[in-house]
Point group: C2
Chain length 118, copies 2
DNA sequence: AGAACATACTCTGTTGATCGATATATCCCG
DNA sequence: CGGGATATATCGATCAACAGAGTATGTTCT
């Protein structure tokens, strides 16, 4: 049970697998597309994460394939992985909501200076 | 500047200061309230972060006060700190949006056979 | 009075995710 | 043949978070 914060690359790896099993290199492109180019997985991060998530039971190997003499190792999201992703997503949604609400509320020094609408 | 991901405690510390200057211990309570009890700053995390954010120019010392013989060190959000917070918030809002959109999209295959518990 | 707890700041040592760099191997294009 | 894309893997460094312990003062309960 991970109550520790999941980081951006890890989150996107799980999300990438949420639309079906993929091999490592495919995730790099998928995550880049999904994030509009913002999140660029580094290979070291990716393979370290896949190993870690495998140990935690959040992803599982889903077979191998050889295409043009190149090996592809597929991974799939497990049921616990799917649940963990949903939990983490709810966490960052809560963070976004609560942090945004605080930013909307301005400090007294600024409230005095502003008319009403920004 | 900082294109590295800002972590949950750091984000909430900056947000706490966004509503006005505070001393360390007050931030712990403020962040707990703001996050509905979810984020509980550890003292080591807090003071390490304040030192770090000070070095980065995102927060600045805002005077000291002694109440009942106990020292209070106040900190304030700087202009760069405010901008960094807004940028990071936009990042996690984008993450939330993009990750959620992927989860809404139905998984291509059923994953009935996978998973741990049950 | 003594214990326990809350306030308030500080430091040390450890863990763990990310990342730069490097390595191996195959295939395609010019 | 050289360079790029595909595809996987590992090493070492970095750094935020954390557990834990320490210092000091004031309040509350028994």
């Amino acid at each position: 049970m991970a109550d520790t914060e999941m980081r951006e690359p890890t989150l996107f790896i799980l999300a990438s697998l949420a639309s079906g099993q993929k091999h490592g290199y495919a995730m790099i492109h998928d995550v880049a597309a999904l994030s509009d180019g913002r999140v660029r997985l580094k290979v070291a991060t990716l393979y370290a994460a896949l190993g870690r998530l495998g140990t935690q039971g959040l992803v599982a190997p889903a077979g191998e394939e050889s295409v043009d003499g190149r090996l592809r190792r597929y991974y799939a999201l497990t049921e616990p992985g799917s649940e963990a992703l949903e939990r983490e997503l709810q966490r960052i949604e809560a963070n976004a909501r609560q942090l945004r609400s605080r930013l909307q509320a301005r400090p007294a020094s600024m409230r005095a200076a502003l008319g009403g609408a920004a």
